[in-house]
C-alpha cells in the first residue's frame, strides 16, 4: 500500500496484470438472468407456509396515540396475528452507525410508534396474514384513535418539542478553520445568498422488501431481500433481537436500485425478523409504491444562508455558512452523517483560507431522511457553485475565470483541508482540476457556444448555459476483504463483503480478479451480500466497492497467482519468475513452447490430501483485506445548455456534458452507465422531483402521478468524458468511485443555465426549478 500522504509529483505507474481486461468495456456477467426474467428480487423470494406482513401506518403527521383497536381486523379471514407497540416493547429503538456526534439516541425510531406518531406513514401496527390481499383487507380495519398535535414542517422555524426535555434540534454540526472574522472584515466584497434544495430521494423502481425465515433445525434466522450493508445490519439485528450474530444470516439476491435508500435498517426489517422467530413461519413483506414514497428515506432538503468574502480578484478569503437540514421525524441509521458530509464537502475544489459552518440538524413531522446519491454534495455543490456565479456577477468576472482563480492546482495535491467528514480528514488525494475544466469546456464547445447563444437570443429564443465544478468522495473505508479461490475444476470464486445495488459490482470485481490472475473474467463466480459466506464486510455505499473491494480483490488475486506460480514452478521445474498465467493455464512467460499446467491441476495438487501440502493450509485460495484511512476524491465538471419556453416556463435541457475524473476506469461502459444514470436522477432533483406536504403535514407526492421521475423524454443529449488523469495514490489500482459524480453537479449546473437564459444572475435560489416559478420570474424580469 502506498504512503497516502506523500505528495505525488509524477503519475504513478498503474498496476497492470497479465489478464488485459481491466479498462475494457466488457459486457456484464450479471445480465443473463436479468434479461431472461430469472432474477431474484425480494418479491420473487417465496417460502412454504409464508405469512404476508402489512403495515398499518400513521395518517396524521403528529398526534398522541390514544388507542389502537385491532378486534375487527383480527376477525378477518386469513389473519394470524396483529401487533401494536406493546407486542414489540422489548425491541429497542433502531440505532445509528458509529458517529462522533453525541446526543442523538433519544431521537431514534421505534419499530412501532409508541405514545406518539410523528409523520404520516410511520408504522403504528402490523398485520400478519396468509395472503397479501387479505393482509391489506385486515389492515384497513385497524382503527387508530389519536389526538392531533401541532405540526412542525419547517426546519428554519423556531424549534418545537420532540419530547419533554428534548427539543427538535438534536445537534448542530460545526466545523471551522482559519481566521473567518478577519476574512470578512478585510474583504473587498461580501456576497450573501439564501438557497434551498427541495426534498427528494432515490425512489428506486423496486420498492423495499424483506423476507425472514427462522431455520429452527440450525437455529439460524435468515433475512432475504437485503442490500447495501449486510454485516452491520446483521450485527444490529442480532443485538436488537437478542441473538448471537452467527445465528443471523443476511442474503442478497438481485437489487432493484439502491441509491442510498435501500439497505439501511428500517422498522419493517426488524418486524419480519421478530415475527419469523415468534410466529415460527416465514414472513414476507413487500412495500407498495404509496408506502415507499412516505416510508423509505427522504433526502436533500436543506436551507442555506451562506456568505463569501472575496478579494478584488474574486479569490475566496472565507466562507461562512449556516444551514438547516430537514431530517424529518427521527434520526435514522445515518445519524447526522448527511449534515457532516455537507459541512465537510462544501468547499469543494476551491482554495479556502477560512471557513465556518453550522449545520442545524432539525427534526420535523415528515418522513425521516438519510443519504441519497451524492448526499450532502448535490446540496452543497448547488450552494457553492451558486456562490461562485454570484461572485462572478458581483465583480464582473467571467464565470469560468472566477473558478480558475480559485481551483486548487495540481501542484498543490494532495491538499489537506483542516476539516473532516465521516470521521476521516479531508485530503484531496489527487487531481488536475483546471486541466479537466479545460478538457470539458473544449469538449462541450463552450467558447463557440457563447456565439451560438447570442445568435439564438437574437432570433428570440430564451437559451443559456451553465457550469458547475464538483468534488466527490468515494472509497470510504475503513476496510473490506475478499477471498479468491480456484477449485479442482479450475473454477474461480470470489467472495466479497461487498453488496450490490444493481450497479455491476460483480463484473468490476471479476475484471480485476481476471486481470491479476490471468483467467477469463466471465468464468469467475462472484459472491456478494452474503453474511454466511464471509464473516465481515462493509457493504456497498459511498461509491466504495470498486475502491475497497476492488483493491482487496487485486491483492487477493495476486496472492493466488503467486501461490499458483510457486506450486507450478516446482511441478514444471522452472522458476516462478519464468511463468505466467494465461486463460487459466500456467505457462512460460516468454511465450516459447513448453509444458503448461491448468490452474485446475495446480489447485488439485494443493488439495488437502496432497502430500505436498503437508504442514500448510491446503487450497489454492487467499483472503486479503484492504485498509484505507482516507477517501479518494473523484472530481469533475457539469456543463449544460438549456432552453426555456417563455410561454410555459418549461426548462428543457438540450445538451449536457459530465466530465468526471475517476482515477481509473475498470470498465468504461459501466462508468458511463453510472454517470448517465446519475445525471437522470440529478435532473429529477433539479427540475421535477419533490416531496411536498400540505400545511397539516399530509404528504402530497404519494404516487408516481405526483412524484415525477424523469422519463426518456426529459433527458438531454448526454455526453460523458471519463478522465483518468489523476489516479488515486491511495490504492493499488488508482481507482476512485464513479457512482455519484453524474448526480452531484446537476442542480448547480441547471440553476446556472437558467440564470443565464433569463439573463439574470442569481434568479434561481431553490430547487426544483418548476415551470410556474420560471414563468413568474419571466414576468418580473419583463
Amino acid at each position: 500500500m502506498t504512503d497516502a500522504l506523500a505528495p505525488v509529483k509524477e503519475r504513478p505507474a498503474l498496476a497492470r496484470g497479465p489478464g488485459k481486461v481491466v479498462g475494457h468495456a466488457v459486457t456484464r456477467i450479471e445480465d443473463g438472468p436479468l434479461v431472461r426474467g430469472e432474477g431474484l428480487f425480494a418479491a420473487d423470494v417465496n417460502f412454504p407456509r409464508q405469512l404476508h406482513m402489512r403495515m398499518v401506518r400513521a395518517e396524521l403527521a403528529h398526534a398522541r396515540i390514544l388507542a389502537v383497536s385491532t378486534d375487527a381486523a383480527r376477525a378477518m379471514p386469513g389473519v394470524v396475528a396483529i401487533w401494536t407497540a406493546e407486542d414489540v416493547a422489548d425491541i429497542p429503538l433502531i440505532p445509528f452507525r458509529a458517529t462522533k456526534v453525541r446526543g442523538l439516541e433519544p431521537y431514534c425510531q421505534p419499530v412501532l410508534a409508541r405514545d406518539r406518531m410523528r409523520y404520516v406513514g410511520e408504522p403504528v401496527a402490523v398485520v400478519f396474514a396468509d395472503d397479501p390481499y387479505r393482509a391489506e383487507d385486515a389492515a384497513e380495519l385497524v382503527v387508530v384513535e389519536a389526538e392531533e398535535l401541532s405540526v412542525l414542517l419547517d426546519a428554519t422555524a423556531p424549534l418545537g418539542e420532540f419530547s419533554p426535555g428534548q427539543d427538535t434540534e438534536p445537534t448542530i454540526v460545526r466545523k471551522a478553520y482559519g481566521e473567518i472574522d478577519a476574512a470578512f472584515r478585510d474583504a473587498h466584497a461580501v456576497v450573501e445568498l439564501e438557497l434551498s434544495v427541495g426534498r427528494h430521494s432515490g425512489v428506486p423502481l423496486e420498492t423495499r422488501g424483506a423476507i425472514a425465515r427462522y431455520d429452527a433445525a440450525h437455529d439460524v434466522l435468515e433475512l432475504h431481500g437485503t442490500a447495501k450493508k449486510q454485516h452491520w445490519n446483521r450485527d444490529e439485528i442480532a443485538r436488537l433481537l437478542g441473538r448471537p450474530p452467527q445465528g443471523v444470516h443476511l442474503f442478497e439476491g438481485h437489487v432493484g436500485g439502491g441509491f442510498g435508500v435501500r439497505g439501511e435498517l428500517y422498522p419493517e426489517d426488524l418486524l419480519v425478523c421478530a415475527a419469523a422467530l415468534r410466529l415460527r413461519r416465514p414472513v414476507k413483506w413487500i412495500e407498495d409504491r404509496r408506502e415507499h414514497l412516505v416510508a423509505t428515506n427522504h433526502s436533500r432538503e436543506q436551507h442555506h444562508r451562506i456568505r463569501a468574502a472575496v478579494d478584488a480578484e474574486g479569490r475566496l478569503l472565507g466562507i461562512d455558512d449556516v444551514f438547516f437540514h430537514d431530517q424529518g421525524a427521527y434520526v435514522r441509521t445515518h445519524g447526522a452523517r448527511v449534515v457532516d458530509l455537507a459541512a465537510g464537502m462544501l468547499p469543494g475544489p476551491y482554495r479556502l483560507p477560512a471557513y465556518r459552518v453550522a449545520g442545524h440538524f432539525r427534526l420535523t413531522n415528515k418522513t425521516p431522511s438519510a443519504t441519497y446519491r451524492a448526499p450532502g454534495r448535490f446540496e452543497t455543490t448547488f450552494v457553492r457553485e451558486r456562490l461562485m456565479d454570484a461572485i462572478a456577477a458581483r465583480l464582473g468576472l467571467d464565470r469560468v475565470e472566477v473558478r480558475r482563480r480559485n481551483l486548487v492546482s495540481a501542484a498543490e495535491m494532495p491538499h489537506a483541508r483542516p476539516l473532516d467528514a465521516l470521521g476521516t480528514e479531508i485530503v484531496l488525494d489527487s487531481g488536475d482540476y483546471e486541466g479537466l475544466l479545460d478538457k470539458a469546456l473544449s469538449r462541450f464547445g463552450w467558447n463557440a457556444l457563447q456565439g451560438e447563444l447570442a445568435a439564438r437570443r437574437a432570433a428570440g429564443e430564451c437559451v443559456g448555459a451553465g457550469l458547475a465544478f464538483f468534488v466527490e468522495k468515494s472509497g470510504l473505508g475503513p476496510s473490506d476483504g475478499v477471498r479468491v479461490s480456484v477449485d479442482a475444476n479450475g473454477a474461480v470464486e470470489l467472495v466479497s463483503g461487498a453488496a450490490s445495488v444493481g450497479q455491476g459490482v460483480e463484473t468490476a470485481l471479476a475484471q480485476i480478479c481476471a486481470e491479476a490472475l490471468g483467467v477469463d473474467y466471465a468464468r469467475i463466480r462472484v459472491v456478494r451480500g452474503r453474511t454466511d459466506r464471509i464473516e465481515f464486510g462493509n457493504g456497498a455505499h459511498a461509491s466504495r466497492v470498486t475502491v475497497m473491494s476492488g483493491s482487496a480483490t487485486w491483492e487477493a488475486a495476486l496472492a493466488v497467482r503467486a501461490m499458483a506460480l510457486d506450486t507450478a514452478a516446482t511441478l514444471l521445474q522452472l522458476r516462478p519468475s519464468d511463468l505466467t498465467i494465461r486463460d487459466g493455464e500456467v505457462c512460460r512467460a516468454d511465450g516459447l513452447p513448453g509444458p503448461s499446467l491448468a490452474l485446475a491441476e495446480v489447485a488439485r495438487r494443493m488439495g488437502p490430501n496432497s502430500p505436498a501440502m503437508r504442514g500448510r493450509t491446503p487450497g489454492l485460495t487467499a483472503e486479503k483485506w484492504f485498509w484505507s484511512d482516507h477517501m479518494a476524491y473523484p472530481y469533475g465538471v457539469h456543463l449544460v445548455l438549456v432552453r426555456i419556453d417563455r410561454g410555459t416556463g418549461q426548462v428543457v435541457a438540450e445538451r449536457y456534458l459530465v466530465a468526471n475524473d475517476i482515477g481509473r476506469a475498470i470498465n468504461p461502459m459501466l462508468v458511463e452507465g453510472q454517470i448517465v444514470g446519475g445525471l437522470a436522477q440529478g435532473l429529477g432533483g433539479a427540475l421535477l422531483e419533490e416531496f411536498r406536504y400540505d400545511p397539516s403535514g399530509q404528504p402530497l407526492s404519494t404516487t408516481f402521478a405526483d412524484y415525477l421521475i424523469p422519463t426518456i423524454a426529459e433527458m438531454p443529449a448526454a455526453d460523458v468524458l471519463i478522465a483518468e488523469d489523476a489516479p488515486s495514490p491511495l490504492n493499488p489500482l488508482g481507482v476512485k468511485g464513479a457512482g455519484e459524480g453524474g448526480t452531484n453537479g446537476v442542480g448547480a449546473a441547471i440553476a446556472a443555465a437558467v440564470d443565464d437564459a433569463l439573463l439574470r444572475p442569481g434568479a434561481v435560489t431553490a430547487l426544483p426549478v418548476v415551470p410556474a416559478t420560471v414563468r413568474r420570474l419571466l414576468d418580473t424580469l419583463a
Binding site: 421535477l688 415525477l708 415551470p771
Partner: protein
C-alpha cells in the same frame, strides 16, 4: 396496493350490462381499466360489483354516417389512433391521441372510459368538446342523446343516471382541408395535461368561416371560448387577431392547485391557444 374485494361480472350484451347496472348494489363499469384499476388498487374506489364491458358485443368500432364518425364507447384509443377513418376525418383527434398516456395505456384505454371518467385534463374530452360531440346513452328507459357540452355535471361527474351507460360517440367531422391543432402542456411527456388547447378553423377568401376553440384543464369540463370564436369569425386571421383571441384566456376562471395555480393556468391557456391557432392556420393553408 391490492384492490378491496368485489364481485365480478362479464356480460356479453349491452342489455345484460344494463340489467346488471340497474340491479346490483354499488356497481362500477370497467372499460379499459387505465383509470379504474389504479383507483381499485389504491382503494379509493371500492365498488361491490365490477361490471366488465370488455366482452360486450357491439360497443367497438368506427363507422362513418351522415357527416360524422360514430365511435363505439369501447373502441381502444390505440385502434382509434390507427384507424383510417380517424386519420382522414378527425386529424385533431389523431393528434390529440399522441398525448394521451402512453402506447401501453392506449392499447387498453377506451374513448368511452376516458369520456366517462371526465378527468379535467383528459385530452379526449377536450377534443369531443371541440368537435361538438353527441353522446349516445342507453338505460333501462331506452336510448337518449346528449351534447358533450351538457355532459360534465361537476368534477369527474358525468350527467349519467346510475343505471345508464355510454354506448357511442358521434363526432361531426369538418370538411377536408380544415385547419386543426391540439396542443398541451404537461410536466412530462404523457402526463395528464395541465392545460390543453384544441383549435379548428376553416378559411375562405382569406377569412375565417368557421372556428372552434376549446381549453382543457381549466375547469371541471372543457371550456369552449365562444367569445374568442365570435371575434375570429369572419375576420382575417392576422397575428394580431390570433393574439386577441388568445388573450381571452387571460380572463377565464381556472382551477387552482399549489402546483399549477390559476394565474399560471391562464398564462398557459393563452400561450397554448395562440400556438394552436397559429398551427391550425398554417394547416388550413394560410399563414398569419
Amino acid at each position: 396496493m391490492k384492490a378491496a374485494p368485489f364481485a365480478y361480472h362479464d356480460p356479453r350484451s349491452i342489455d345484460e350490462a344494463l340489467h346488471l347496472l340497474a340491479t346490483l348494489e354499488n356497481p362500477r363499469l370497467l372499460a379499459g381499466g387505465q383509470s379504474l384499476m389504479p383507483m381499485l388498487n389504491m382503494r379509493v374506489a371500492f365498488p361491490d360489483h365490477v361490471i366488465d364491458l370488455n366482452r360486450v358485443e357491439g360497443l367497438e368500432g368506427v363507422t362513418e354516417q351522415d357527416g360524422a364518425l360514430r365511435i363505439g364507447a369501447m373502441t381502444r384509443q390505440r385502434d382509434l389512433e390507427e384507424h383510417p377513418l380517424t386519420r382522414a376525418r378527425l386529424p385533431l383527434m389523431t393528434e390529440a391521441l399522441t398525448f394521451v398516456g402512453h402506447w401501453q395505456t392506449r392499447n387498453r384505454g377506451t374513448i368511452g372510459g376516458s369520456l366517462c371518467n371526465l378527468d379535467p385534463s383528459a385530452e379526449l374530452v377536450a377534443v369531443a368538446a371541440a368537435l361538438d360531440a353527441v353522446l349516445e346513452v342507453r338505460g333501462p328507459a331506452g336510448a337518449r342523446e346528449l351534447s358533450i357540452h351538457d355532459f360534465p355535471e361537476g368534477l369527474m361527474t358525468p350527467a349519467l343516471a346510475p343505471e345508464e351507460m355510454l354506448t357511442a360517440i358521434r363526432l361531426p367531422f369538418w370538411p377536408a382541408g380544415h385547419g386543426y391543432c391540439f396542443a398541451e402542456f404537461a410536466r412530462r411527456h404523457g402526463d395528464y395535461a395541465i392545460v390543453s388547447a384544441a383549435a379548428l378553423l376553416m378559411l375562405e377568401g382569406g377569412r375565417v368561416t368557421r372556428v372552434s376553440i376549446t381549453l382543457g384543464g381549466v375547469g371541471a369540463g372543457p371550456l369552449r371560448l365562444r367569445e374568442a370564436e365570435a371575434m375570429l369569425l369572419g375576420a382575417v386571421p392576422s397575428a394580431e387577431a390570433i393574439r386577441g383571441a388568445a388573450a381571452h384566456c387571460e380572463r377565464i376562471e381556472a382551477m387552482s392547485d399549489p402546483q399549477a395555480p390559476a394565474w399560471y393556468r391562464r398564462r398557459l391557456a393563452a400561450t397554448l391557444m395562440r400556438r394552436a391557432l397559429e398551427k391550425a392556420l398554417a394547416r388550413a393553408g394560410g399563414a398569419a
